[in-house]
Structure formats: structure tokens, C-alpha cells
């Protein structure tokens, strides 16, 4: 059953994030063109497409890392298209990066604690004087950080420099670090890249768990089709910066345009290939 490519997806009743005719041009090249997308509250939304389709650019546009050329992005009804990355994070959007961007030189614990720090609840004067408020807030921050590390099995690594962690744990740590800012919307950029099958399974469990536990909405870019098909409620397929299909996994899997986009380039949607 093919979905209608040009057709707007059915309006999502309770959208966490809405993109309306979002475009981004680099020079004359359209990395993203007229993209409409809505992510329902509490859902896991997949963003897939062949290499160079503009997926990461979409992430950069949402998080403010790349300015919009045109269009509008609304987070819970609030326009965020013009905001700086840190302001967008403070409205509840956190992300991970395709090429892991941990603070490699500092400890795992510091990575997570730094991420939560704008929620610390004290200002620099408190930091300078280090009176009671400072110690109270620091104790809370410390506890939140430890809990997060405990819960997701990185407590034993807390004192190690983040750069020394094995790859899979670095991926996990990056997700934890994003969680430490207590986002409502979490963007995962190829979280399974470089992981083996059992690590991917663990990752999928982790994603489903944090979704429930932190009442998150998740937007995920992923090439691992098994993961995308099992995990996502809705999938948007991009090709050459444009949306060619949107729907549930079953619909996307059978969409001729999607198959053409992938197979036409010698790429494959088939899970067995991964």
C-alpha cells in the first residue's frame, strides 16, 4: 500500500514539534526543501533516507545549529526557528551527534553534570561565595547526575575520561548527557551507527525505556532498518532534501518511491543487509 508522496500527512493532533515548509540552502544547493513534518507527543518518529538526503541538516535546523533559510519550526506551538542553540535546548530539545561529540577530556560524571548545569538553580555569585544555597543545589545536581549514571549502567565508569570509553558506551553516555538537560524532545542522530546487533538491541531497549520514564518524544535518524522498523511509530523518508514519504513502518517499507530512492542508488532498505 503506497502512500501519496506529495500529500500532506494527516495533521497530528497533539504535536510536540512542527516543521512548516522548512528550507535550507547552501549556496544554490537545497539541503532541505519545503519540508513539512509533525512529531506527535510521546511518539518515536524516524527520519530516514539515503546518504546526503538532508537528515542531519534537519536536526541542525531544529536545534538551531544551522540557521533556517525559510519556513517555521514550532516547539509546543512556540516558534523556535530563529533561536540560538542553547535557547532551544532550554525549551526542551536535546540531541546527540552523528560523530559523537562528548567532552572527551573530562570524566563521564563531569560530562553529565555539565549538561545539567543550566538547571543548577544558582548563579555565579553563589558559585563565587559557595554558601548554603550553592551546596544545596550542588548536592541536588550531584544526586541527579549519579542517579542517571546508576540507572543506565555507567556508574562504574563515572571517573574515567569520556574519551576512554568503548564506542558503545560513548553512544550511551551521549544520550545520558542529553537526558541530563531533561528535554521533552530528544533527537538521536544515528545512535546505532557502529554498534553490533546485541548492542543495537540494548540501545533499542534503552530508547524505549527512556521514552516511558522521561515522558519523551523522540526523533531518530537511523540507517539500521531493523531498528527503525521496530522502534518507530511514524517514519519520514527524505531524499535530496525533500520528503518523499511519510507513514507507519509498514507503509514506508512498501512505498515504491522509497524503494526506488534506496535501490536506485545501490543502497538497500532490507534489514538483513545491516
Amino acid at each position: 500500500m503506497a502512500s501519496d508522496p506529495g500529500h500532506l500527512a494527516a495533521p497530528v493532533p497533539d504535536a510536540m514539534l512542527e516543521l512548516q515548509s522548512v528550507s535550507r540552502f547552501f549556496g544554490g544547493l537545497a539541503a532541505v526543501r519545503n519540508l513539512d513534518m509533525a512529531i506527535g507527543r510521546g511518539s518515536i518518529h524516524g527520519l530516514i533516507g539515503p546518504n546526503g538526503a538532508g537528515k542531519t541538516t534537519v536536526f541542525n535546523l531544529i536545534t538551531g545549529a544551522t540557521p533556517l533559510s525559510s519556513g517555521s519550526i514550532r516547539m509546543e506551538g512556540r516558534e523556535i526557528g530563529h533561536l540560538a542553540p542553547h535557547a532551544i535546548n532550554r525549551l526542551g530539545v536535546a540531541r546527540t551527534f552523528q560523530n559523537i561529540r562528548l567532552f572527551k577530556g573530562i570524566s563521564v560524571f563531569e560530562n553529565v553534570r555539565t549538561a545539567g548545569s543550566w538547571r543548577s538553580g544558582y548563579g555565579w555569585i553563589h558559585g563565587l561565595v559557595q554558601g548554603y544555597t550553592f551546596h544545596l543545589r550542588e548536592a541536588e545536581l550531584h544526586q541527579r547526575t549519579s542517579e542517571l549514571l546508576d540507572e543506565f549502567g555507567l556508574a562504574h565508569r563515572a571517573k574515567e575520561p569520556a574519551g576512554a570509553l568503548p564506542y558503545g558506551e560513548q553512544r550511551r553516555l551521549e544520550i545520558l548527557r542529553a537526558l541530563a538537560t531533561r528535554p521533552k524532545l530528544l533527537l538521536l542522530d544515528e545512535p546505532a551507527a557502529g554498534l553490533n546487533a546485541s548492542e543495537t538491541d540494548a540501545l533499542m531497549q534503552l530508547v524505549e525505556r527512556i521514552l516511558e520514564q522521561y515522558e519523551l518524544t523522540i526523533l531518530v535518524i537511523e540507517h539500521d532498518m531493523r531498528m527503525v522498523m521496530e522502534l518507530c511509530d511514524t517514519i519520514t523518508v527524505l531524499d535530496l532534501g525533500e520528503r518523499i514519504c511519510e507513514g507507519d513502518p509498514a507503509a514506508v517499507r512498501n512505498d515504491p518511491l522509497v524503494i526506488q530512492a534506496y535501490l536506485g542508488r545501490g543502497d538497500t532498505v532490507d534489514a538483513s543487509d545491516q
Binding site: 542531519t56 541542525n60 545549529a65
Partner: protein, 315 residues
């Protein structure tokens, strides 16, 4: 009118030398992404090599000619540049860039301080390698002074610039150099011997610095152990103005710097009266600051320089 034309001519002849020195900065930055702070001091060494070579030549009765002395300087500086790269920069190839920057500053301070130590801090007279004739016809009729030596300097600079451009454009080495400056890793995988290219680049750049040192010495008639700072700085600014890593850009930047400096030095701008005396900004007092002013403006307005391409950091 003649006055400004005269300044413009002076500026162009200064600019040519600056361009020559700027090339060394830009090429090294291109292949190594390193600001070779010691470049100006290599120039100083070049000037002193010329002084001693001239002395030696005079002693043995060899004619003290510019075309004989300059290659000696260039060769010595090329060797020095290669040695510096080997000792100080190569071990830091994979270190954070700031570590190599500090090392480069260290090498610069080292050359300067050893120079001051061994040669004394004073100024050494630079031998007249060229005739100091001026073109009388122009001087008499227009009061416009053009010296033969300036013409020779200008011509040989242009010659070197063209030669370098030819090397970069048409030789295998030039091709390898451009490849390395685009992407050292990919170049290595394509069979380019990156270390050899870097060595060659240092040799080439330092030789140009040596030539620049000889010309600078001839132009100002003196050399001292700190003489490299000023041209080094100007040449660096010129390289940034032209888009660092960009060879033609560095040439244009050099001319811009030379002309801008000469013109500004010739100005004095009254800015009003205060406490009963005229306040005048005397351009020549600020010539040292001018380079940095241009530098900061370029960095702020067009960080990639006039001819550089802007490469945003990938997320």
C-alpha cells in the same frame, strides 16, 4: 600628486617584498595549518647570511653581486627551515594545533635571542649589493625618485613570484602540495609522501623568506636580530588578508599591505585642538599598529580573507 605617486611607488616596492614573505606563511599554513611564527626570523637569518657572505666574498676577491649573494641566503634559509620543521614541528604533527603554535613562538624567540646573544642587539650595516643610482631623467623633470636598486628588487621579486606560481601550478611537487593542503589524509592515501611535501614546502617558503631578508636589508640598509618581527608581522597580515593558504591571495595581500602602510605613514591627520595645542595623528607613529588593525578588521569582517573560501565547521 607627485608626492602620492611617489608614495604609491614606494608602497608597491615594499609590497612586493612583503608578498614574497607572505608566500612562506601561506604555503606552510596551507599544508600544515600552522602559523609559522619563526618565518620572520628566518628572514632575519637570511639577511645576516647575506652580510657574512658578502664579507667573505669581498675577502676572497669574489665580486659582491646581488645574483651571487642571494642564492646563498636562500639556500641557507631553506636548510634552516627544513631543520626547524624537523626538530620542532614534526614531533608535534598530531598534537593540538595550539601546541605547535606555542612551539613556533618558541622557535621565533629562540632565533631572535640567539641572534641578540651572538650578534649583539645593535644594527649591522647591510652591504650595498646594487648600485644606488636613481633614474635621473625622472628626478630632474618631475622630482620623482626611482632607484635602480628598487627596480631590481621589484623585478626579481616578481620573477620569484612567477616562478613559485609556476611550481605550484605545473610541477608534480606543486600538485602534491595542493593535494596535501586540501586533505593530508586523502593525499597520503593517494600515494603522496606527505612528509616530503611538508619538507619541500618549508624549504621553498624559507628560501623565499631568505630572499625577502636580503631585499629588506638592501632596502633599509641595515639588519638587526629583531628585524624579522616587523616584516614577518606584515607578511602574516598580508597572508590573512589574501586568505591564508591561498597563494595568489598572499601576493595581492602583500601589495595591499605595502601600499596601505606607505600611504598611512605619509599621512598626518589633525583631529582638533586640545589644551591649546593641535592634536595630530601622525601616521608614521602608527605604522606598526596599522598591520594589526587591518588584520583584526579582516578577521572580523571576512575571516577567510579576500580570496579564501569560508568553511563552516561541520556539526
Amino acid at each position: 600628486m607627485i608626492f602620492w605617486l611617489q608614495q604609491l611607488t614606494n608602497g608597491l616596492s615594499l609590497g612586493a617584498i612583503i608578498a614574497l614573505i607572505a608566500l612562506g606563511y601561506t604555503m606552510v599554513y596551507g599544508v600544515l595549518k600552522l602559523i609559522n611564527f619563526a618565518h620572520g626570523d628566518i628572514l632575519m637569518v637570511g639577511a645576516f647570511v647575506a652580510i657574512y657572505a658578502a664579507m667573505w666574498a669581498a675577502h676572497y676577491g669574489i665580486p659582491v653581486w646581488f645574483p651571487l649573494i642571494m642564492p646563498v641566503s636562500m639556500a641557507f634559509c631553506a636548510a634552516l627551515g627544513v631543520a626547524i620543521e624537523f626538530v620542532a614541528y614534526r614531533p608535534l604533527r598530531n598534537a593540538p594545533r595550539l601546541a605547535s603554535l606555542i612551539t613556533a613562538i618558541g622557535v621565533s624567540l629562540f632565533l631572535e635571542s640567539v641572534g641578540q646573544w651572538k650578534l649583539g642587539a645593535g644594527r649591522h650595516a647591510f652591504p650595498a649589493l646594487l648600485s644606488d643610482h636613481r633614474i635621473e631623467a625622472l628626478a630632474e623633470r618631475y622630482g620623482f625618485y626611482v632607484y635602480v636598486s628598487d627596480l631590481v628588487i621589484f623585478a626579481s621579486t616578481l620573477l620569484l613570484l612567477v616562478a613559485l606560481q609556476a611550481i605550484v601550478k605545473f610541477t608534480r611537487f606543486g600538485k602534491a602540495m595542493r593535494a596535501v593542503s586540501q586533505d593530508p589524509e586523502a593525499a597520503r592515501l593517494m600515494g603522496v609522501d606527505v612528509n616530503r611535501v611538508i619538507t619541500g614546502t618549508f624549504a621553498l617558503g624559507s628560501a623565499l623568506a631568505g630572499a625577502g631578508g636580503v631585499m629588506w636589508g638592501m632596502k633599509f640598509g641595515a639588519a638587526d636580530p629583531l628585524m624579522g618581527m616587523d616584516p614577518g608581522l606584515k607578511a602574516f597580515v598580508a597572508a590573512v588578508v589574501g586568505g591564508i593558504g591561498n597563494v595568489p591571495g598572499a601576493m595581492v595581500g602583500g601589495f595591499i599591505m605595502g601600499v596601505a602602510e606607505t600611504l598611512v605613514a605619509a599621512c598626518s591627520i589633525p583631529i582638533g585642538r586640545m589644551w591649546g595645542s593641535d592634536l595630530v595623528i601622525v601616521g608614521s607613529n602608527y605604522r606598526q599598529a596599522l598591520g594589526f588593525l587591518i588584520l583584526i578588521l579582516v578577521l572580523l569582517l571576512r575571516p577567510s580573507g579576500l580570496f579564501g573560501r569560508h568553511e563552516p565547521e561541520k556539526v
